[in-house]
Symmetry: C2
Subunit: 418 residues, 2 copies
């Protein structure tokens, strides 16, 4: 720990928004204010917000948050999506030069960046270049991503609320599927990591061991990006359950890839678009669901008979921002923001905040977690995948995953089946 440098703090939000990313923004503001930021004599002179992340910084599009009213901050915290605006820009050396220019101009020496793995990499790049350039910019990353794919973290803010939406939507949709039987495919977000798709399993109510065969409740089949997707095996899986039950409920990750590792969805979207981080568009299209739906209509049509009723929905962007946040998620998203502010106001020079679970998974103990400082390098541009113990075979998740996920999303609605 060293002394504090005198200067302004700037906060940015980056990458895909979530239902709780504004909790983290408010957390940073509250944490800095608690340490006296913006009051006479305090080393932190003011609190600025970047409009659309680093884009706002280089375009001199900043907003002074130092005296933002407390009551409006509380509403902002509960507002879904990135209140300051987000970006997918990826800074290179020249871009960073413009960042430092803006920092010099505004006397900025504290840099807070809320985002996922691409955004933590932006934070790491800015931090390294500021060290090389001998411009003192203390850089802190605050975790956020519905994909839940940051290293070290037990889970990431944004994931529990998105998982809550997925679980509730799948529960309601399963009841719809047993009411008007057929084959139903739901495509769920997750480019490389299957956590959010796996959360569909929380919709199930049956408590029997997974070894007893496919769940009675939907989704009976779950396909993750971690497991190579084989078309023939998929058709066989569905046929088996459809033959037995006259219906089948399926959760598929948008990121499922063929055995060669190519994402199946990306090949299907017409004029698919790519962002600055090289991510090809997977969301905002129904192409993957429609292709799987059409495949089943054709392959499962009996000779001379009628194809089974097949429908596909793609949950889309609503799953990352729907205003029905998990309470654990709200509290932790606020908490990691405050913790980053605490690191900065305690004299730390850089770092990311990680959520560490302190309660045992799967035992009858209340859920508990703590925040820890980790090095930016530990999360930047790295991707965590579903661990093997969370995956059961090629089309299911394990009890360990359910035990891991359940306390994060909070209580789900009870329902009754006649």
């Amino acid at each position: 720990m060293g002394d504090l440098v005198k200067g302004a703090a700037v906060i940015g939000q980056s990458g895909g928004p979530t239902a709780v990313i504004n909790e983290s923004l408010v957390g940073v503001i509250e944490g800095l204010r608690r340490a006296g930021a913006g009051t006479p004599g305090n080393p932190i002179t003011k609190i600025l917000g970047m409009r659309h992340g680093v884009t706002g910084l280089v375009n001199d599009d900043l907003y002074d948050l130092t005296d933002y009213p407390h009551d409006r901050l509380q509403i902002l915290a509960r507002t879904p999506s990135a209140g300051l605006g987000s970006t997918r820009d990826k800074p290179n050396a020249e871009y960073c030069e413009r960042i430092f220019e803006a920092c010099r101009k505004h006397g900025i020496h504290y840099f807070f960046y809320i985002g996922g793995n691409d955004s933590s990499d932006t934070c790491r790049i800015v931090n390294e270049l500021s060290n090389q350039q001998d411009y003192e910019l203390r850089c802190f990353h605050i975790p956020k991503t519905v994909d839940n794919d940051l290293m070290v973290n037990d889970h990431t803010p944004g994931f529990p609320s998105a998982a809550r939406f997925v679980a509730k939507a799948c529960m309601a949709d399963f009841l719809d599927n047993i009411s008007l039987p057929g084959i139903k495919i739901n495509v769920i977000m997750g480019r490389h990591a299957g956590f959010l798709t796996a959360a569909a399993a929380l919709a199930r109510r049956d408590d029997r061991p997974l070894s007893a065969g496919p769940s009675t409740d939907g989704p009976q089949l779950i396909y993750l990006p971690e497991v190579p997707f084989e078309t023939e095996r998929f058709v066989e899986d569905v046929a088996k359950i459809y033959d037995e039950k006259g219906r089948c409920h399926i959760a598929v990750s948008e990121g499922i890839s063929d055995p060669e590792g190519t994402p199946i969805g990306a090949k299907l979207i017409q004029n698919a678009q790519t962002d600055a981080h090289g991510n090809v568009q997977l969301s905002g299209s129904g192409a993957l669901g429609d292709a799987l739906s059409n495949l089943l209509k054709e392959k499962l049509k009996p000779a001379g008979g009628k194809a089974p009723r097949v429908r596909a929905d793609t949950f889309g962007y609503v799953q990352r921002c729907f205003p029905d946040q998990s309470h654990v998620d709200q509290a932790e998203a606020r908490g990691v923001g405050r913790y980053a502010a605490k690191l900065a106001t305690s004299g730390d020079l850089d770092g990311s905040v990680a959520i560490i679970r302190t309660s045992p998974i799967g035992e009858d103990q209340p859920y508990a977690s703590k925040y820890e400082r980790i090095d930016l390098e530990q999360v930047a541009a790295k991707t965590k995948h579903m661990p093997d113990e969370f995956i059961d075979g090629h089309n299911n998740v394990s009890r360990a995953f359910l035990d891991y996920c359940r306390p994060l999303v909070g209580p789900l609605p009870l329902y009754e089946r006649i």
Copy 2:
């Protein structure tokens, strides 16, 4: 009013499920029990449920609900989707013969059917044939449909809860759209009637008169099935808003039709499926959204430049069953069920229940409604469309629609914009 006939009552659910259709089921059961059904000496000897509507009746798949426990009924009422199962079967004369056979076998003389316009037509057909056959079957229809397209009714149970989901999802998705700007299309249910798509306008927060031009808040453009959809005009509308704001948020009904009246979506779905009522598949596919998205990517790409970011989501089945019901909807869905039971136990011979609004629209008076008996012919197989006064030009809804819809969906989350 006549005397009661001695016999059992049977209840069925039919057509697309909703988030409150089980409220109506529980309402009928409660209403019949209040009148003493199932107790010694009461003319209504028991209460049966049809599994999957009339399909369960002809297949002798009935469930005795007479003594279903009260506490489980209360959970059932809040459970989305049709608890008894639904059907899209459309009875013809031979099918009705089998219905009467089942009624004779079980001594059924009261027939309650919860559903939309196709289901009310089923109820009407069964009623007419029973009169012709001289088999006393007293038939009552209970309204239900997220499409909100039943005649006479101010609105239909199921619509307010679906509208609530659409409004909340569009609000969150608009905040996502301003956070990462681009063009966003949301495809919303509604085959012939645009009410549910129109509910997207509740996501807007700006209060200025509609005559002041496109809303600042999304969705700025709303396309209904009632207004012929012209591709070129659509591209022009989007281009205008995108040029001005650098983003555009759009709500499109799945039922939009070309100037010749052909639904655009139906032509795009590979192997589209058709139900017994002749309805071609429009839901359960992202084809319409993807086609519009691709159109905009191509048409709005500047020569030698990069196409704007365009994404399309199709809200899908989750909008009709998501467990976040409107309180008005829950109360009225229960109420119409109870009212149908009251009609039957008062000696009425047949009929449907309609919801009539008794409070003035758009004035500062609390919302109020009442139930009324109407003839089956008044709703059966008829479709109500958005009235002209709810439609503003070719891509918007009117203030009158917002005033009509707002009290039905209940309070929406507050949000804060920096």
